[in-house]
Amino acid sequence: MAESRLETVDMFINMGPQHPSTHGVFRMVLTIDGEQIVDMKPHIGYLHRGVEKLAEGLRYREVTVLLDRTDYLAALNNELPYVMALEKLLDVKVPERAEYIRVLVCELNRIASHLMFYGAFGADAGATTPFMYAFRDREEIQHFFEAVTGGRLMHNYFRVGGVRYDLPEDWRERLTKLIPHLRKGIVDCERLLSDNEIFLNRTIGVGQISAADAIDYGLTGPNLRACGVRLDLRRDQPYSVYPKLEFDVPTRSRGDCYDRYLLRVEEMRQSLRIVEQCLEQMPDGPSLGEVPRVIRPKEGEVYVGTENPRGEYGIYLVSRGGDYPYRVKVRAPSFCNLMALNEMMRGCYIADCVLILGSIDIVLGEVDR
């Protein structure tokens, strides 16, 4: 500024990787002008374990173990595209009961994941109480998973041609108890945050992104739907038994933090609807289809994308014959969503950057893989 003869320089702030609200190990370098963010550079890779490469050294059946550990908040949702891809390569039929079980646990996992978002997002905004409520309800889902899959977070439950175990004998009682509990939990959640004036002031209009930009950046899942684009792979590229189930795909229009938050709360309700329908329609039959003892798919490649709580989680699987996959490529939704962060943050205040990061709901395990 020659006129005022005062030289101003932008300041850099390094945030993370040990910052508690970066949801893992994520570093961003913020360029700030006073209180405003001018630019943001994400630095990722702190949690890189080479999952895709490791998968090439494991037999087909064991790869699900690794995929659990990419998006660890929605592990079952990650196993689904992989087993579906493998089933496509092998031409294996999945019994209907297995499909229903898969959808049931996937939707419960979606609710658990969104509850985690809800709790963490409240904490990001400075409200710690919602966190406790979210975890209380998430724990109930976790208990159900313990009884069904044996694991709390890492399930390793889906198999080629079905699921590992059938549902336990008392699953109906457990689920009929769980559903009203969750329904009440979601109401509690909404009452705690959705109308809170402080929360509204902090989130409305913050971190906005337009629908066109969102599509350009390749956003998927709730982040895209919050901008008003009605894209949900469960409805638009139906897989498994989703065509037989009734559910709405909610959208919002503004594409700010508040919309992203509200949309996920609404999605929990829709997932609960799906869970209820699964409980009603669950057919009898085997939970594991006819599968060859040794899995050795023919040469070929296949891509399957499914709707993860964070967006499109896709698996690109290449087989060159043999016992081991030639390539397992993961299309990670959090990774793509994270790239739009710069666009959302530019022009916002530095106090909001934690909130915006929280609102896109990333899981670093899946960003870095």
Binding site: L58, R59, R61, E62, V65, L66, T129, Y133, R136, E139, H143, E146, A147, V148, T149, G150, G151, M154, N156, R164, Y165, P168, D188, R191, L192, L193, S194, D195, N196, E197, I198, F199, L200
Partner: protein, 144 residues
């Protein structure tokens, strides 16, 4: 103001319900039968030896390669008390890198290994973690 009051009302309600927190470790969690802790070998009480034949299938399939098994000739075959010609000699499980994925249970052809309900692995040193396996292995099954 109204929104905040609504939130306050919700938190007030929690005064009138039962607590949900389990006071671990005084209270133990109620684990369902399928709960997968660390894997452990099963003891065949009828014969007085483990089911495991030391075939090493689990060691080969374990994604983290944390199992080490060796096999020996079964001394009990000679006097006819056991039908297993080979038996496990050493079975070592590195608990610190087991991911509790249950692959070993799935691939075992002799149903000799199962996921136990042991989940506590905190200890003061690395050696102690390795030694946890003594505690894990050999759950009895069968019997007279």
């Amino acid at each position: 103001m109204l929104g905040m009051l609504k939130g306050l009302m919700t938190t007030m309600q929690s005064h009138f319900r039962k607590p949900v927190t389990i006071q671990y470790p005084d209270e133990r969690p109620d684990l369902p039968p399928r709960y997968a802790g660390f894997p452990g070998l099963i003891w065949d009480a009828n014969v007085g030896e483990p089911f495991c034949t030391g075939c090493q299938v689990c060691a080969r399939f374990c994604p983290t390669q944390c199992i080490y098994v060796t096999m020996k000739d079964n001394p009990k075959v000679g006097d006819g008390t056991s039908k297993r010609r080979k038996i496990v000699d050493e079975f070592e499980l590195n608990v610190s890198c087991c991911t509790q994925c249950a692959v070993c249970v799935e691939v075992c052809n002799f149903d000799a290994i199962e996921m136990t309900h042991t989940f506590e692995m905190a200890s003061y040193s690395r050696e102690q973690v390795m030694n946890l396996q003594d505690m894990l292995s050999m759950k009895e099954k069968g019997g007279p």
